[in-house]
Amino acid sequence: EDKVVQSPLSLVVHEGDTVTLNCSYEVTNFRSLLWYKQEKKAPTFLFMLTSSGIEKKSGRLSSILDKKELFSILNITATQTGDSAVYLCGSLENYGGSQGNLIFGKGTKLSVKP
């Protein structure tokens, strides 16, 4: 059973469009929610969210967490072809004194057409 569920699984838009990617999670001992962008190889870090309702922003990307409803969204405005990638959402959970493990969803594959 998936603990982290992302939607949609794939999305095709045109340059200039705004997109919203969704991530819901159901984990015990939740600590943080993380967004990564995966192009060809390594997932690269975008955002880490620990508090509800506080938007994190980086250029055209922004993200927010709702700990009551257990979801997060990633927004990308004025999309560019370089935004084409798989966007991974991960929930960082820990048990007792452990260092915490990052559990990923299946990802949303975003394709931005020129």
Partner: protein, 116 residues
């Protein structure tokens, strides 16, 4: 900017052979991880490592797998007797030494393992 480096980038091996995947985490990071991604599937947690011992491991990380930090810089994943289903991209990740959960995991570029 410091980064996690992994070698080799691609490893081809025959079924039943042992492989060692190598990683150099970011210096001064103390928490280390291995993940794998089978083609077309999600990134899956394998094992976490801290203070020279395994912290947690997933069901995937069975007796065929082992991890080691043989010196102050390398972090290795060994698969003793590879199976066809071990073919995947293996990612190493590290996290800052802080004990809080405000530090993200930083991933290497991965080693693509192909078992024939």
């Amino acid at each position: 900017e410091p980064e996690v480096t992994q070698t080799p980038s691609h490893q081809v091996t025959q079924m039943g052979q042992e492989v060692i995947l190598r990683c150099v985490p970011i210096s001064n990071h103390l928490y280390f991880y291995w993940y794998r991604q089978i083609l077309g599937q999600k990134v899956e947690f394998l094992v976490s490592f801290y203070n020279n011992e395994i912290s947690e491991k997933s069901e995937i990380f069975d007796d065929q797998f082992s991890v080691e930090r043989p010196d102050g810089s390398n972090f290795t994943l060994k698969i003793r007797s590879t199976k066809l289903e071990d073919s995947a991209m293996y990612f190493c990740a590290s996290r800052r030494e802080a004990a809080s959960f405000r530090s993200p995991l930083h991933f290497g570029n991965g080693t693509r393992l192909t078992v024939t």
